[in-house]
């Protein structure tokens, strides 16, 4: 089973462009956590995200796309980074999440990732072609 661990740091929604983690101790702890995930063979991917002030939003209305640049004042919380892990159970995912050296100002949201077999049937029929395509072009196991 695959899970996303979404890191939601309080206040990141208003972070200025170019904000980087500057607490060396904290960075070191995070890297140790990442390493532990990797050594256990559960780590599938991880990334940090630049703040919304460096991002954009696209909304679709009336058949047209409307683009707005960040930051977004109404956002109460935003994703700051993620891990994707492969584990045997939800409980295992929660266990790993609990080991993250997160601070009191951070929340981690644990979300299961859908496999094609999880999709409703009609979506499967169409979405089913996608993994095939990706497999054909060599981009998916």
């Amino acid at each position: 089973m695959r899970f996303m661990l979404l890191m939601i740091p309080k206040g990141y929604e208003t972070a200025a462009p170019g904000t980087v983690p500057d607490d060396a101790v904290r960075v070191e702890e995070m890297m140790k956590f990442n390493e532990s995930l990797q050594k256990a063979g559960v780590l599938l991917a991880l990334d940090g995200l630049h703040p919304p002030s460096m991002g954009a939003r696209v909304s679709f209305a009336g058949g047209k796309a409307r683009v707005t640049d960040g930051p977004f004042p109404e956002a109460k919380e935003v994703v700051g980074g993620y891990w994707m892990i492969q584990v045997g159970s939800r409980a295992e995912a929660i266990e790993w999440a609990s080991r993250c050296p997160a601070t009191d100002d951070e929340v981690i949201e644990v979300r299961q990732v859908q496999e094609v077999a999880d999709f409703p049937e009609d979506v499967q029929q169409i979405a089913g072609d996608l993994p095939d395509l990706q497999r054909r072009v060599g981009q998916r196991d």
């Binding site: 979404l6 796309a65 997160a102 169409i126 996608l130």
Partner: protein, 118 residues
């Protein structure tokens, strides 16, 4: 550079309208175009936010907090990871996506781990 394209769950109290076969087919075709352009690094959908678990941390220990979570919370429904030359390129691609009425996407630049020597 990498861009994460995050699709938000519908915020209305009503569940989102079930996508039609035509919409799914159009979306599949669009995604195929992106894959063939060498842009897509990853593409995932998540289980609904109603199944989400949240953890808070105190004194280095994480504990699960019970839902329901704040209504204003914007939940992630799925995401892409794209490899593009610029944010503008990501926006241009996304503008062509046949998303349903009311769909909301957020684009975020991915932090590139710096080479230590750099």
């Amino acid at each position: 550079m990498r861009v994460m394209v995050i699709k938000k769950e519908c915020r209305d109290s009503e569940p989102a309208a079930k996508p039609t076969k035509e919409m799914l087919a159009a979306f599949g075709k669009f995604h195929e175009e992106l894959v063939k352009a060498g842009v897509v690094l990853a593409s995932e959908r998540l289980h609904p936010g109603s199944e989400a678990i949240q953890m808070r941390f105190s004194g280095g220990k994480g504990t699960v907090i019970d839902g329901p979570f704040a209504e204003t919370k914007e939940l992630v429904a799925g995401f892409w990871l794209w490899q593009v030359g610029s944010m503008e390129e990501a926006v241009e691609w996304l503008k062509r996506a046949p998303f349903e009425e009311g769909a909301e996407l957020e684009l975020r630049q991915v932090y590139e781990m710096p080479a230590l020597g750099g």
